[in-house]
Symmetry: C2
Subunit: 277 residues, 2 copies
């Protein structure tokens, strides 16, 4: 035995243990608008996710989240910040840790454990700042009982994923997902995607995370449709306005020229003292 910690550390050889690599993957979410063909109608909104086309093996030509190895002298939670900075040129992005996936064979190269993060951005902030292997995909989710179909589409590609939700009682989490169909997403990113979408859906009601996806000024109609697209259901106007009213402040600006009554522009109040929990 050793006399003290200093001596112990001196005799300690890290090579004595089997070691592995660690990566960070980031699911970058935003909201996109689809211009309507009717000049009166407001733009349809979708959630969208940023995917990168893999140029190298493994999973060459498949799509995945932006990600990379965690440096040996880099804090884990700093890795996604660096990766996003590199990928989008932005540095003040909302980030939260999602899950650490460590199935033995999730990467064919070697043992790699990956911590996934969720990032929420206003897409318009990074117009033209994206690397050219990155692309926004619109998300469409169809749920039928425990079978979930996710469609991801960009200008030239449609990705389809079919996942089964399995309720678990006594294990790692409330439910697990089994990927039934997935031709185009690399690694275990299909699972991560669904996991992240569910997390956001849950959190949207008791946090203010949506505002990370909103521009500085927005109408309540726009804000509501972002909530709707995250929750996957329509909300009632009066109820929504009641609930949201404490979180936003009206400005004197107006949005006009939309083919119908103009609406007031609002700002996120933020910084406000939040209730406990």
């Amino acid at each position: 035995m050793y006399k003290n910690e200093k001596e112990f550390l001196k005799a300690y050889n890290p090579e004595d243990f089997e070691r592995l690599s660690m990566t960070a993957d980031i699911m970058v979410l935003s909201v996109s608008s689809y211009e309507s063909n009717n000049y009166r109608k407001t733009d349809e909104k979708h959630m969208s996710v940023l995917l990168v086309k893999r140029e190298d093996y493994p999973f060459k030509d498949k799509w995945c989240f932006p990600g990379g190895f965690v440096g040996i002298n880099e804090n884990l939670d700093d890795a996604p910040i660096r990766i996003l900075k590199n990928e989008t040129n932005l540095s003040d992005i909302y980030l939260e840790q999602l899950y650490t996936n460590g199935e033995v064979n999730r990467d064919p190269r070697m043992r790699i454990i990956s911590t996934s993060y969720i990032a929420l951005v206003d897409k318009n902030r990074l117009e033209g700042k994206l690397k050219d292997n990155a692309s926004w995909f619109d998300i469409r989710i169809l749920e039928e009982k425990d079978i979930i179909d996710i469609y991801l589409t960009n200008q030239s590609k449609e990705i389809h994923i079919k996942i089964k939700r399995i309720l678990k009682e006594h294990t790692t989490d409330r439910y697990a997902f089994e990927v039934l169909e997935n031709k185009d997403l690399a690694f275990d990113h299909a699972k991560v995607l669904l996991n992240g979408l569910m997390r956001i859906r849950n959190k949207v009601n008791y946090t203010d995370i949506v505002f990370n996806m909103m521009p500085e000024y927005f109408t309540l109609g726009e804000l509501q449709s972002v909530y709707e697209v995250i929750l996957g259901k329509k909300l009632l106007d009066p109820a929504f306005r009641r609930i949201i009213s404490s979180k936003v402040k009206k400005t004197s600006k107006m949005r006009t020229g939309e083919g119908h009554r103009p609406s007031a522009l609002f700002q996120y109040k933020g910084k406000e003292k939040n209730k406990n929990s």
Copy 2:
């Protein structure tokens, strides 16, 4: 470049990258009863956490959560199951992943990233099954604004931790914790502890996780006081019974001999179809 994935993998050398080690730490929570000195009064309840005294460097003689290295051929989420099995001899324990901590210097030996898990058990199920370096500590939390004092006590030891809660707007999570005082907990386990307690406190209202800490049969009074001790506040009887009524079923058994009116014993209904979300 390589012709295909197979060739790529053949040429791939994991040694080319800097690598690290991974551990899993488990915060095992349960509820303990304190016999009252008044024969009429019901036992006082506390949350309790299982700690292990470190017998080796680093952090020799300090306390920490049960944990261990993740095997190179072991799924990450299987590691806590193995460790708990080894530590408590039980294998059907509720487990959920809490957070992955990866500060560069969190372990003085070398770069070790650790995924922490929460386990919830009924303490009585593992009476006498614990290894003798493990001990249950009762938890007492005092919150005053953003200063949180946690006291952990067992028969012979009192551990005190003082932590400051820092609100964050645009970073990894809603708030971060800064440990102000901690003499007795090893690694970053003080942070993990608080993080886990907050997670459970949040989840208790919209999930059925408490029942993992309850014995097969329990009175509604007992169940209520578990909720109270997790939430850190008293609940009103009628409201509690209204809410809980759908989750439990009354049995014909009664708890008697308590110095006051006997109460019906209930069971968790479980398996019931849960609402969405």
